[in-house]
Amino acid sequence: MADQAIATRKAPLAGRRGGSPAAILTPAEPASRISLRAGHDAISALSAALGVTVPLRPKTSASTGKRHALWLGPDEWLVIDEEGADLVAAAASSGALHSAVDVSHRNTAVIVSGPGAEAAINSGCPQDLSLALFPVGACSRTIFGKAEIVLLRTAEDTFRVECWRSFSPFVFGLLSEGAEDAGH
């Protein structure tokens, strides 16, 4: 129906603010995301089609502007476009055999920023997040308390924490406690 109002979008963490001076928590802006699955033979075509290098080394990511490709497994990547581009279509244009599934609304993200960002995340995440082992650009799917998350270190003191939408209040809550403690 032409006269039908277009449905408005409501993000799961809309309006949330939190953290501490040591670790500021900010819900990330909506972004488009795909879960990309493919064999290694398709990677160069997919990289070209997506305009971002699809990385082959574990725990690494690559970025072009606001588009990021995160290694999650040997045939699995999370591709994020912070400007909301149609990633499914972009991947399809590669012509290579792959699976691209839109997970833009499945995931949401919290940006954790500040000198205590590492400690805040380590309140529930058992990985070693020191710069030596988790440098800028490193990424990993891991566990945060009772939620699964994907971590991406975007700067020395900044992480992007991706999680499934229904876990986001839990993740935000535990991050808040971690951020509070990180300051002490």
Binding site: K10, L97, R106, S123, P169, D181
Partner: protein, 997 residues
């Protein structure tokens, strides 16, 4: 004045900084930095509690974490009250309230002390023997009595208002203990460039240097060196120094739990601070430098208040500036106790005598005692003590007998030698070995990446300790990959060489005596109890421990285990290593529940998963039910409606008009790839090749054992793309199950699985007017009966946003399931609701969903099946392909037991009285008059009042059920027996015409 026993000029506390606290209502003044124990002793209070079994007066035995006696109730306010706090560990803060425990009506006069007179009846093992009969008395009499009498302290009743923090942390080298050894090890590791965590349970570094006044390191007094070194370490970027932090557990693969007590010493803690912080450390290398624990002497009546460990006497004097008495006797089997006498004498305290049960004490200490004019009674023993609420004298006799000489004292310091703290080493599964020469268990075979240094490794000499620790620190750092730095060398010197030591009962507490010579103070275990256990046939140390409860109190036998072992060995006529050592278990000292729980409480206890439409549901009065971690709208009561009425209304409305239901929690998996259909052929019993894009099919998933595992509707979006749905609770395990087969059994298939459960909000619109409700909102999909029949799927848009629209039904009505990207869920729901409500449609919840599907005989996997039903049992054989050569479960479901006659089958059940709603789970029998136990044919799996049928309906599993159609069976309940008739499973619209409306 901060206590009559405070020695001016002694100790390290600042006289001007006082703190006031109460003990059993009496206000006392302490100095900042005092422990409760040091403050009480400063005020000449030794009597602090009553013992567990005999209610004997007890005092403060130690100055550290090993304290078995001085357990007190400490509170900050009503909600912040903690029982069983060790007075020797807890620091005093201004305003603290302290009470003694296990006494009534008062500490000085305790009725329970009567138990001491009855003690012949309370021998070891008495619980096991005394309360055997009459049997009925156990519940009514014995157990309630024992429960009242047992246990120390009273648990707090109010909710803990504090919060607790937790952190995972990684390091190259974790050093446990910051005495001379730990500091040296940390220094070497840190200088080599390693990332170091150094922890110590005390408020300051220094360990034994707190009391060991004569030691020198690097040319300075030992404690001064320790403080300076601690400060230097704390300033290094690669070092984390944690004081008031106990390493309580050493777990697999160098995972060590530390608890940091953050605020318990502060008078007015910052509310933002956690009370305690749990550090979950993963270390490449662990250096154990946790020292040694002094052992008491085992002699008659060795538990009177005022009898203490010699090192404790030195700690109170040298660190806290408090003398433990004015006339302090010494009873020793080890040279270290002499140094307590020297320190006290130099502080002006009278030392009537040093009683040494050895014929030949060490030369160095003997010479010093002579030069200070202290009488040494070697070859003699303390054979008794007296004093009601505090020791007043000791009786000393020459070994082997003879007249006893009474010496007046108001405190007695004892030492039988030192026990290396191998607790954490043992927790790491390392194996200890017994060093016969020194009668000590020492670290033997290591099981993990750790090293022991200093006293816990049996190294006594200070220079040897430092050298060993420096080498270990550097070695650990190098092994962890550190490449930097500077080598460290340090000199260390003890004031005196130490010799001696004994374990087991001393003179006067030997064989054939019945005197009370305590080995475990907290559990009131005496030397004679160990011997009794052996006489009663306990030969394993593990049995002796449990029979006597030796070492089973909250101190876990830190002082008592070695004595108990030695006495048992003697009674058994064996060597100590042959008797063995009980296992040390985590935690080293008690850990609060708050710390273990940490962040996992309240909203963070478990994620509460909410759908994108949850806020609307809440605003419209929905009651919610938990389904896994999900909060699902259960029913929507209108004003004045109870649950039954609301559900009845919703059920009628859906069938009469329409209903809107939030199905977002349904599990969804996108299966993509050229082999997608081939993969689904293997995972489901159905065939998928012939399903056309745009069509859906109900699928059954089995495990390889042939039992139903999950079910759901699968839509084919394209040749290579399927939208699979699973049960709400089954979503994660179904994906795991699929991945398992895909990765490990069928890796040749080109197909990928992605969870899309949370990508889509799902709005089910069900009922005769469903099409009318959504039609004006949908674009790009022809919703007509012909173009979009039952079990169709199409992609288009709704309210201007993309949708995957399914024509399907779990109600038996004309139905649609509108999938929209989750962030649009609420807006689309509201648009649908805006059309539905004026038509008289309702929003409905999971309860109505359950009733409607039961009216149609649609099963719920996990409710009507329980993991032991085959498709045939569940009446789903029609969904099992007969042509496919393979699918998961194809062989398992043909197992002899799974195809035999008489298996339980899912059937309908109608109570003869249509008003009676059966209880889910109720058992079903053929003959209600048969003798008990009755032969049970099955049970009710689903049961509801059906408003649309105007009667009750039920589903049940019944042995040979389908062949019993029309039979009368019985459901025996506690108060009556209900007659039921076996029916088919479809109760409403048996022809199914409504689906296709």
């Amino acid at each position: 004045m901060t206590g009559v026993n405070r020695i001016s000029g002694a100790g390290r506390l600042t006289p001007a900084r006082t703190a006031r606290f109460t003990f059993d209502g009496r206000t006392l003044t302490a100095l900042e930095g005092d422990t409760i124990a040091s403050a009480l002793i400063a005020n000449d209070i030794h009597l602090v509690g009553r013992s567990f079994k005999y209610h004997r007066p007890r005092g403060i035995l130690s100055a550290g974490a090993e304290e078995p006696n001085a357990l007190l109730d400490v509170s900050r306010d009503a909600a912040r009250r903690q029982p069983n706090v060790r007075a020797t560990v807890q620091e005093v803060f201004d305003g603290m309230r302290v009470s003694s425990q296990n006494r009534w009506p008062s500490l000085a006069f305790d009725v329970g002390g009567f138990n001491d007179l009855l003690s012949p009846f309370f021998a070891a093992g008495f619980y096991y023997k005394t309360f055997m009969w009459p049997k009925a008395a156990w519940h009514k009499l014995y157990e309630p009595f024992i429960r009242r009498a047992a246990g120390l302290g009273v648990a707090p009743t109010e909710t803990d208002p504090d919060h607790y923090a937790s952190r995972y942390v990684h390091c190259d080298v974790l050093v446990v203990g910051a005495g001379a050894a730990g500091l040296a090890a940390a220094l070497a590791a840190a200088n080599a460039g390693a990332k170091v965590i150094l922890c110590d349970e005390q408020p300051a570094v220094g360990g034994a240097l707190h009391y060991d006044s004569g030691s020198e390191i690097d040319g300075r007094a030992g404690y001064d060196w320790a403080l300076a070194t601690g400060k230097a370490l704390a300033a290094m970027d690669n070092v984390t120094l944690l004081t008031r932090t106990t390493a309580f557990g050493y777990y697999n693969h160098n995972f060590v739990g530390l608890v940091e007590r953050v605020t318990d010493h502060l008078p007015a803690p910052d509310k933002a601070l956690p009370r305690e912080r749990l550090w979950q450390v993963r270390a490449k290398k662990v250096i154990l430098a946790n020292g040694a624990i002094e052992r008491h002497m085992v002699f008659p009546n060795n538990d009177r208040p005022g009898i203490m460990l010699a090192s404790a006497g030195r700690t109170y004097l040298n660190h806290f500036g408090v003398a433990v008495g004015k006339k302090v006797g010494i009873y020793a089997a080890h040279d270290s106790a002499y140094e307590a006498a020297f320190d006290l004498r130099k502080a002006g305290i009278d030392i009537p005598a040093i009683v040494d049960c050895r014929e030949k004490p060490g030369d160095m200490v003997l010479a010093e005692a002579r030069s200070l004019g202290i009488e040494v009674l070697s070859g003699q023993s303390v054979v008794n003590t007296s004093g009601k609420l505090r020791i007043s004298s000791i009786s000393v006799a020459r070994n082997g007998g003879g007249a006893a000489r009474k010496i007046a004292v108001d405190a007695l310091l004892v030492s039988a030698g030192w026990i290396p703290s191998v607790h954490l080493f043992s927790q790491s599964r390392g194996k200890v070995t017994f060093d016969a020469a020194t009668e000590r268990f020492l670290p033997g075979t290591y099981a993990q990446e750790c090293l022991s240094v200093g006293a816990c490794n049996g190294t006594d000499d200070l220079q040897a300790t430092i050298d060993e620790a420096l080498a270990a620190g550097e070695l650990a750092a190098r092994a962890a990959g550190a490449e930097g730095g500077v080598q460290v060398a340090l000199s260390g010197r003890n004031a005196f060489e130490w010799t001696g030591g004994m374990i087991g009962a001393a003179e006067g507490a030997g064989q054939d005596t019945t005197v009370k010579a305590f080995i475990d103070f907290q559990h009131d275990v005496c030397a004679k109890d160990i011997r009794l256990a052996v006489r009663e046939g306990m030969h394993s140390i593990e049995h002796i421990k449990r029979f006597t409860t030796n070492g089973m109190a909250s101190d876990q036998g830190k002082l008592s285990n070695m004595h108990g072992l030695a006495i048992a060995a003697e009674a058994l006529g064996k060597e100590i290593p042959q008797v063995g050592l009980t296992t040390f278990r985590q935690p080293y000292t008690p850990v609060t529940f708050g710390t273990i729980v940490s962040h996992s409480r309240g909203n963070l206890f478990d994620p509460a998963r909410k759908t994108p439409i949850h806020a609307w549901e809440e605003a419209h009065g929905a009651e919610f039910e938990d389904v896994g971690n999900w909060k699902r709208a259960w029913f929507y009561p209108k004003a004045g409606e109870n649950m039954h009425e609301a559900v009845a209304r919703e059920c009628k409305t859906v069938r009469d008009v329409a209903g809107v239901f939030d199905a977002s929690t349904l599990g969804k998996i996108e299966v993509v790839g050229p082999d997608a259909a081939a993969f689904l052929n293997l995972m489901y019993t159905n065939a998928w090749d012939n399903l056309k894009p745009g069509r859906c099919r109900y699928g059954i998933m089995l495990r390889d054992d042939g039992f139903v595992y999950d079910d759901g509707v699968v839509g084919r979006l394209a040749d290579d793309r399927f939208h699979v749905t699973t049960t709400t609770g089954g979503a994660p395990r179904v994906l795991h199950h699929m991945e398992d087969y895909l990765q490990t059994e069928f890796p040749h298939l080109k197909v990928w699985l992605t969870s899309t459960t949370e990508q889509w909000a799902v709005i089910a619109v069900q009922g005769p007017r469903a099409r009318e409700i959504i039609a004006p909102l949908v674009e790009g999909i022809d919703l007509s009966k012909e173009a979009f029949p039952h079990m169709s799927v199409a992609e288009g848009s709704i309210c201007g946003v993309p949708t995957r629209l399914f024509r399907m039904s779990f109600t038996g009505e004309l139905g649609f399931e509108v999938n929209v990207p989750a962030d649009f869920g609420q807006a689309v729901w509201e648009a649908i609701w805006a059309r539905a409500e004026p038509m008289g449609a309702c929003a409905y919840g999971t309860e109505t969903m359950h009733v409607l599907r039961a009216e149609k005989g649609y099963i719920i996997v996990g409710q009507d099946t329980d993991g032991t039903l085959t498709p045939e049992d569940a009446g789903l054989s029609w969904a099992v392909s007969k042509k496919k050569p393979d699918f998961v479960g194809i062989r398992g479901m043909k197992r002899p037991d799974l195809v035999k006659e008489g298996r339980k089958q899912l059937v309908g059940l109608l109570a003869k009285d249509p008003q009676v709603v059966l209880e889910e789970g109720a058992q079903i029998v053929a003959d209600p008059n048969q003798p008990k136990p009755m032969t049970m044919l099955g049970h009710v799996t689903s049961s509801y009042w059906s408003p649309n049928c105007g009667r009750s309906i039920a589903l049940a599993v019944v042995a040979g059920g389908r062949a019993r159609h029309g039979q009368t069976l019985y459901v025996p309940m506690a108060d009556r027996t209900i007659a039921v008739e076996v029916s088919d499973m479809v109760f409403f619209d048996k022809e199914g015409g409504r689906l296709h409306g």
